[in-house]
């Protein structure tokens, strides 16, 4: 007997919901992440026949589109809170080092498309071919863009590491 759609979806959900939730938590706040995951899997349930054999990049892509749609909708309603660029402010309680905060601040200086490529590579552990499936480009393009994004992040980290002038007694600019 064949596996039903419900069984197939349940297996997909159980296998990948935590990964999708982690993807969401890396990009939006906790409340929005719950909403985002629910909407994503609702979409997956309705497009079950489109799920590819290696579903994770596709799931990230659905989540990303859902997230961007949600932000567009908020923007239309004048309630955009800029959460896409707020990742530098997302601090996991009690576990973040200064170095981690510096890196996330540097990341937040980049344009959003560069941030997403770097996050997909470093945090979701995706290869360029998989990243390409998430953001909708060719693998070669993803690889080139990722390389450039890494260079920009390194530059941003370098400028962040440059010592800032400090005021001491008796010395004024």
């Amino acid at each position: 007997m064949a596996i039903t759609d419900e069984e197939r979806f349940a297996a997909l959900f159980r296998a990948y919901q935590p990964a999708v939730m982690r993807y969401a938590l890396r990009r939006v706040d906790v409340v929005d992440a719950d909403d985002l995951v629910a909407q994503t899997f609702l979409t997956v349930w309705r497009k079950l026949d489109q799920v590819p054999k290696d579903p994770l990049p596709w799931l990230y892509g659905v989540t990303r589109h859902t997230m961007l749609d949600g932000f567009r909708e908020r923007e239309r309603r004048g309630r955009l809170h800029g959460r896409l660029s707020a990742v530098a402010d997302f601090v996991a309680p009690g576990v973040d080092s200064d170095a981690a905060l510096d890196v996330r601040r540097a990341l937040a200086q980049l344009k959003e498309s560069d941030q997403e490529l770097l996050r997909l590579s470093a945090w979701e552990d995706l290869h360029p071919a998989e990243i390409a499936r998430v953001v909708g480009c060719s693998a070669a393009t993803a690889a080139v863009r990722l390389h450039r994004a890494r260079r920009r992040l390194a530059a941003a980290l370098g400028s962040a590491a440059t010592p800032q002038p400090t005021l001491t007694s008796g010395v004024r600019p």
Binding site: A2, P18, Q39, W45, R46, A92, A99, A122
Partner: protein, 235 residues
């Protein structure tokens, strides 16, 4: 530089257990492409399930009993994770199965999650007249436990878990159920026993003198299709 970025992952230490209640809620949704109004309702329903059902889930977990902090003996990885394996988050430990056990005890299966999808299972025979405590979860020795990454654990029938024929003389076993909603244990002597499936896990025990060697555990989906099988242990 990428290593530094990887270390800056804001959720690298966050445990994200999967939400079975949300799954049920989504499965209950209309699969037709929604109109704008229907879509809004569906999204609201999904959002409510995402927010409210985990709260209910906490209640269920609470009713089932969360392992107290002394459960390090039941989940030794908490205190001493194996090299390369992440520690468990004790607050995620929940009892996923309770069945009558031998000698007036309860057969229980406990599951706890760790970082990066790590998951551990522990089996025990708890005292019948007790609420489960760390000590009862911890005893008797030899009832066994198993750990896996979530990608493997959540992947399907019997992809995480294990069987033990411990020092007390009872064979016990617990595995992830995957798609299975019911299961059977086919013993080497031809006998067939129904095996309970609870909260995504299939497990049970055999009386003293009944061998689990070469016994085959078979899981079945709601449609009746076999979804997987595993041998408890070879003779």
């Amino acid at each position: 530089m990428m290593a530094a970025l990887k270390a800056a992952d804001p959720v690298r230490d966050r445990v994200v257990p999967y939400d079975e209640a949300l799954l049920a809620e989504i499965l209950a949704q209309d699969r037709q492409a929604p109109t704008r109004r229907r879509r809004r309702k569906a999204v609201v329903a999904a959002w409510l399930s995402a927010v409210l059902i985990p709260i209910a889930g906490v209640g269920v977990a609470g009713a089932a009993g969360v392992i107290p902090s002394g459960a390090r003996t039941a989940f030794p990885w908490l205190a001493h994770p194996a090299p390369g394996e992440p520690p468990l988050d004790l607050s995620t430990a929940v009892r996923v199965m309770v069945e009558p056990g031998p000698a007036g005890r309860r057969f229980e299966v406990w599951v706890a999650h760790g970082q990066q999808g790590y998951l551990c299972m522990a089996k025990t025979f708890a005292a019948e007249d007790s609420t489960t405590t760390a000590q009862q979860v911890a005893l008797p020795p030899g009832q066994g436990a198993a750990c896996s990454t979530l990608a493997k654990a959540a992947g399907g029938f019997a992809e995480n878990g294990g069987a033990d024929w411990g020092s007390l003389g009872y064979t016990s076993f617990a595995y992830t159920a995957g798609l299975a909603v019911r299961a059977e244990l086919h013993l080497a002597d031809g006998a067939v026993r129904a095996v309970p499936v609870q909260q995504g896990w299939v497990g049970g025990w055999l009386p003293k003198g009944v061998s689990g060697a070469d016994a085959v555990l078979i899981g079945y989906a709601a449609s009746g299709a076999e979804v997987g099988r595993t041998v408890l242990y070879p003779s």
